[in-house]
């Protein structure tokens, strides 16, 4: 599931769908369902690899998940709902994705990952104010959650709150620096945060701050925003 989410974030739709399909096919609860739906599994898999366009593959996997959800209508499986939420994100059906994540959150209200996913879905679906609320919930539960802070910054930009956006990006960068992580995924994330920060600063019409961002001068920027930590 986590793999599917990462693949979605990096825009690899086909691979994300495959990961989601694999999840459901190997899941003890739904394995049987997946097998019967697909008919003879090996030929179906071959077919989907060769001929299916990405959109028909996507709806195939979506139908699988929807069927699985219909199987037990009274019990909500948060992981299944997460999978559905991711699929609806891929197909840009953001409102349905919101419903899926809300259902998952009803079962696991302290899951900050879910709150972030809800927020991101809302943001991508142009509901930035609600997205901010969702991110705030996630950060209340897990203040060091960098991805959510980054997302919050993006929603601030969408809402025109450029100072707040910059402030959030700087907090995220500062947290990253403190963790001293050398992981590649964190380096990539760092690059994304700097890029987003530059965009926010460019909207503030303060060229010296923009220059500082270009130079990577985090300390100067932290002082400029009164964020000395």
């Amino acid at each position: 599931m986590a793999l599917a989410v990462s693949l979605t974030n990096t825009g690899l739709q086909q691979e994300a769908c495959e990961a989601l399909r694999n999840w459901i096919m190997h899941n003890p609860k739904y394995k049987r369902l997946a097998k019967t739906k697909a008919g003879s599994p090996s030929s179906a898999r071959r077919m989907s690899h060769i001929s299916a366009t990405s959109s028909s593959f996507l709806s195939e996997v979506k139908d699988l998940y929807l069927e699985a959800a219909r199987q037990n209508p009274s019990i909500i499986d948060p992981d299944l709902q997460t999978g559905l939420g991711v699929l609806f994100n891929l197909s840009s059906e953001f409102n349905r994705a919101v419903d899926a994540f809300n259902a998952a959150l009803a079962v696991r209200p302290e899951d900050y990952l879910l709150w972030n996913r809800l927020g991101a879905t809302l943001a991508n679906g142009d509901r930035s104010e609600e997205a901010v609320e969702a991110y705030t919930r996630a950060l209340d539960i897990q203040p060091g959650f960098i991805r959510s802070r980054y997302n919050l910054g993006i929603s601030c930009i969408n809402l025109g709150a450029y100072r707040e956006a910059a402030s959030n990006f700087l907090t995220a960068l500062s947290l990253q620096r403190k963790s001293r992580s050398r992981q590649l995924s964190h380096q990539v994330m760092s690059g994304n945060i700097w890029a987003a920060l530059r965009i926010a600063l460019s909207m503030l019409d303060q060229p010296e701050l923009f220059q500082a961002a270009n130079a990577g001068d985090l300390d100067l920027l932290m002082r400029a925003f009164n964020l000395d930590m």
């Binding site: 991101a120 879905t121 943001a123 997302n151 993006i154």
Partner: protein, 364 residues
């Protein structure tokens, strides 16, 4: 004439010697023009360091690309030999385009990945500003944003636009909230961007790239056939403002004699009084003009603003949003600064793209 005025001598081809200077010197003799009648170049006399500084600043203000600063800085450091300056300025200008484009591409390198959103751009106005902005944006972004469709809307296309009518002398001047000051005498040769040749070229480039055009809205001057005129002559009157006293600018096929600059006059009809004034003053300046055959009259508008507006704005129409990039108010110097403005418009477009890219990229 009793008014004081500066005389500017600018030449399109490299200096051929002082014989041409002498012929100009004979036409008139004024206190300021003593250098001309001596047959020496008037340019050196007028080129004071504080004038160069003003020009430096005015170009910085009008052409929002700092490479122009460097061009001027290079010029100031050049030895005061006339010929060297001529050659270098011409090659600096031709190199300028490439430099500017290169620098802008380096700076706007945040956009890494292709965006698969349908981006529709409408350009309003098909004069030099509209067409050059369209070309610049298409040039830089058509490979990064697919599909990128550009539609140009205008009530007039070449050869009916103001840009076509403009003589197109490339000469920046200081325009500071209504006070205009000609900064002149600082270069020996000048470029001319002839609107009526340039615009069709721009239209061809845009058509090649699939841009669509749709038709859907002052300087008074005359086109003359006077092929013996080889020099640009501009006069300035600091009291009545720019381009209100005679100028004579040879083009590729005919010579333009002008002009007027009447703030608040919205009429585009040829006015016989203005016509007479322009012609008489032109002939006074260059008597041989009397023998020229008048080809055409033209009157146009110079839409001007206290300063050029070049920024972006989000407009709301009901539940829809639209990003607008403004690029207007160039008055009498549109051809001069159009390319810098077009590049800046493309930069603004890039910023909008980045914002849009972010808006659909929150991470689950």
């Amino acid at each position: 004439m009793t008014n004081e005025y500066y005389s500017c001598r600018v030449r399109f081809e490299p200096a051929e010697g002082s014989s041409m200077l002498k012929s100009f010197g004979r036409a008139q003799s004024r206190p300021h023009d003593s250098e001309i009648s001596n047959g020496r170049s008037p340019i050196r006399g007028h080129c004071r360091s504080n004038v160069a500084q003003d020009v430096h600043q005015s170009i910085a203000r009008l052409t929002p690309t700092y490479t122009t600063h460097r061009m001027l800085a290079k010029m100031q450091r050049l030895p005061s030999q006339r010929h060297k300056r001529v050659g270098t300025l011409v090659s600096l200008i031709s190199g300028m385009h490439k430099e500017l484009v290169k620098r802008k591409q380096l700076r706007t390198s945040l956009l890494h990945t292709k965006m698969d959103h349908n981006m529709r751009i409408a350009v309003i106005g098909a004069g030099v500003i509209g067409l050059s902005s369209a070309l610049c944006i298409h040039d830089r972004y058509h490979s990064k944003v697919t599909p990128l469709s550009i539609d140009v809307y205008a009530d007039r296309f070449t050869p009916l636009t103001t840009s076509d009518g403009a003589a197109g002398l490339w000469q920046p001047y200081l325009y500071d909230n209504g006070n205009t000051q000609e900064t002149c005498g600082w270069f020996n040769t000048a470029l001319m961007i002839e609107g009526k040749s340039y615009l069709p070229w721009l239209m061809d480039r845009l058509t090649e790239r699939g841009v669509k055009f749709h038709q859907k809205k002052i300087a008074s001057f005359r086109e003359v056939d006077a092929p013996w005129l080889k020099h640009f002559i501009i006069t300035h009157n600091s009291k009545t403002g720019v381009y209100s006293t005679p100028y004579i600018i040879p083009g590729s096929r005919s010579v333009t004699v002008g002009g007027i600059f009447q703030v608040g006059n919205w009429s585009e009809d040829n006015n016989s009084e203005d016509h007479r004034k322009v012609w008489e003053e032109g002939c006074h300046l260059v008597p041989s003009l009397k023998n020229a055959r008048i080809l055409d009259d033209w009157t146009g508008l110079r839409p001007v603003r206290s300063s050029v507006r070049l920024d972006s704005e989000t407009l709301q129409f009901g539940d829809k949003q639209c990003e607008v990039i403004h690029n207007y108010g160039h008055g009498g110097y549109g051809l001069t600064i159009h390319w810098g403005c077009a590049l800046e418009a493309a930069n603004l477009f890039g910023k909008i793209l980045e914002k849009k890219k972010l808006t659909t990229h929150s991470r689950l």
